[in-house]
């Protein structure tokens, strides 16, 4: 065991009936860092998190959290971790405050300690106004914040976030990212699963890509982007007649490749740095060309998978469905 690896898993195997959810997954997360586990539905992300958080016993392989084995020392592991996922949630009939105080009592914070901690977390997650309403009346974003707050009641050193932003709108997603960053600043170690390269890129120190229960890539965000291609600049001129001139400008600011028309009326070019955006805006303005759309994109999960595996992530969705059902 390396001294400062807080989460370590070797050769995790888990089978549900005929579905092989995990086929030998290794994970390693050094103290105080964020590991992004990237993969499509049914890749095995949730199964891995459930094993690491002691909800599920692996069929093979070992995993340790803070040096404690998730099977043999499950009780110690549970004192260390906080878990947030769509399955590990709160009681809908209880209010936000009652939920947090219940978890405080169960975590031995005592009556006053539980109250204080609940009030702190409600304040931090901007839920004080809604604190005394039943959780089932909360909006999606509030509910997600309460779920996360519930997993932080015991001030865990290790936090598992299973798709924390799936279904949130972009503004709420950014807020959630800020929360994750502040947890790390405070010394927590985070394992986060996501279907978005953008999210893993924004938060993670390292990214593990899994597919069909296997790790198919492990790298820093920069390293992964080097492999799968960096950002793409997309521009839609207001007047389709300008497509030719726009293509010429984009080909010059881009990383060398020619601009392509990827959809009707939309040109795209790979770029290496963020300055390409401002530069193309300046040059389009100088040329007097108006645009209705101009954006910078990281490759989507589909594109990442296509590059890494030669096929799209959605191709074997049936396996994914089985795993979710299991």
């Amino acid at each position: 065991m390396t001294a400062d690896l807080v989460i370590e898993a070797e050769g995790l195997v888990k089978t549900f009936g005929k579905t092989r959810a995990l086929q030998g997954v290794d994970l390693a997360v050094p103290r105080g860092t964020v590991l992004g586990v990237l993969g499509p539905n049914g890749a095995g992300k949730t199964t891995a998190v459930r094993i690491l958080s002691t909800l599920l016993a692996p069929d093979g392989g070992t995993a340790r959290i803070g040096g404690f084995d998730v099977v043999r020392d499950a009780e110690r592991v549970r004192q260390t971790i906080g878990l947030t996922g769509q399955y590990a949630s709160v009681d809908e009939d209880l209010t936000g405050r009652q939920n947090l105080e219940l978890f405080g009592t169960l975590l031995e914070l005592g009556r006053n300690g539980s109250r204080r901690r609940a009030a702190e977390l409600l304040e931090w997650f901007d839920l004080t106004a809604a604190a005394d309403r039943p959780a089932k009346t909360y909006s999606g974003g509030m509910r997600r914040r309460l779920d996360l707050a519930a997993s932080l009641v015991g001030s865990p050193n290790v936090i598992f976030l299973d798709e924390p932003t799936t279904g949130l709108d972009p503004a709420k997603r950014e807020d959630m990212w800020d929360v994750v960053r502040s947890l790390v600043t405070n010394g927590s170690t985070v394992l986060l699963t996501t279907q978005y390269l953008e999210e893993a890129d924004a938060l993670a120190d390292a990214i593990t890509v899994i597919d069909h229960g296997r790790v198919i890539a492990y790298d820093t965000p920069e390293g992964l982007k080097r492999v799968v291609g960096g950002q793409t600049l997309e521009v839609r001129p207001s007047d389709p007649a300008h497509l030719g001139r726009v293509a010429a400008i984009l080909s010059e600011v881009g990383s060398g490749a020619q601009a392509d028309e990827i959809r009707k009326g939309v040109l795209a070019v790979p770029v290496t740095d963020d300055e390409a955006l401002t530069e193309s805006v300046a040059r389009l303005a100088a040329a007097g060309i108006a645009v209705t759309e101009l954006s910078l994109h990281l490759p989507s999960l589909d594109e990442v998978f296509f590059t890494l595996t030669g096929r799209t992530a959605a191709e074997d969705d049936t396996t994914g469905l089985k795993e979710i059902a299991a």
């Binding site: 958080s53 002691t54 909800l55 599920l56 803070g66 009780e75 110690r76 549970r78 004192q79 260390t80 971790i81 878990l83 996922g85 769509q86 399955y87 590990a88 949630s89 709160v90 009681d91 809908e92 009939d93 209880l94 009652q98 219940l102 978890f103 009592t105 169960l106 975590l107 031995e108 204080r116 901690r117 702190e120 977390l121 304040e123 931090w124 997650f125 901007d126 039943p134 974003g141 914040r145 779920d147 519930a150 997993s151 932080l152 015991g154 001030s155 865990p156 050193n157 290790v158 503004a171 709420k172 807020d175 800020d178 929360v179 502040s182 947890l183 600043t185 405070n186 010394g187």
Partner: protein, 275 residues
Amino acid sequence: MSTLVSTPPTTRTVLSTAVPNPRPLRLVRHSLALAKRSLIKTWRTPEALIDVTLQPVLFLVIFVYVFGGAVAGSTHDYLQFLLPGILAQTIATGVIAIGVNLNTDIAKGIFDRFRSLPIPRSAPLVGAVLGDVVRYVIVTVSTLAIGYLMGFRIDTDPLRAIAGCLLAVLFALCLSWLPVYVSMKVRTPGAVQGLMFALIMPLTFASNVFVSADTLPGWMQAFVDVNPMTHLVAAVRGLFVGTPLGSHVWWTLAWCAGFVAVFMPLALRAYRKKI
């Protein structure tokens, strides 16, 4: 949400290096905290109490006024005889709800959260059972109240009457482990309801709830004599209206112990396996 401050609250306790909690009675404290959760839920959804409040009223009114004259000669005499039986019957059917509720609840995220916490695995189930005490107290009080309005009177003394109520509540608590076990083994809340009803129904009718056991055919009396409902009803009847108690209180307590000894371990094992 833009007002989120950038640093989390700073009361970090170093949980990872703490030894597993050595304080005694952990299971009791955690179960009580979780029982409070059930209480809050009962408080929030009072309509869930309809089964246990309306049913004794209906049974008392229908049976006393329809069959009272024929079975016992007078409606008052029959009411004195029937009320302890209806209390026991309502208690027995009232336990079905915990199975139905747990079957729904366990599929929700809250139980996964419980399992990720450093608490005894059995605490959520024990808490759910304890939290239902309030339901059974409400059943007992409301059955006695409607009985009083109809003319039922305690013929013994208040202490014995209270003992009878406590015995009924205890019986419900212990019998609860049967529906809890069933709820871990079957897939849907409807199946829990159906199966439990099929188990409870013969117990309440093939007993001394509605008529004296010696009016039944011999082969049925053999079953009635061992039926836990018979002992509970005879014990409560003795404590309320002074019929001979015999060893019925002891038999009732023995059945209570038996329910817990058999179904609690079965339920906990099924819960651990149900992932």
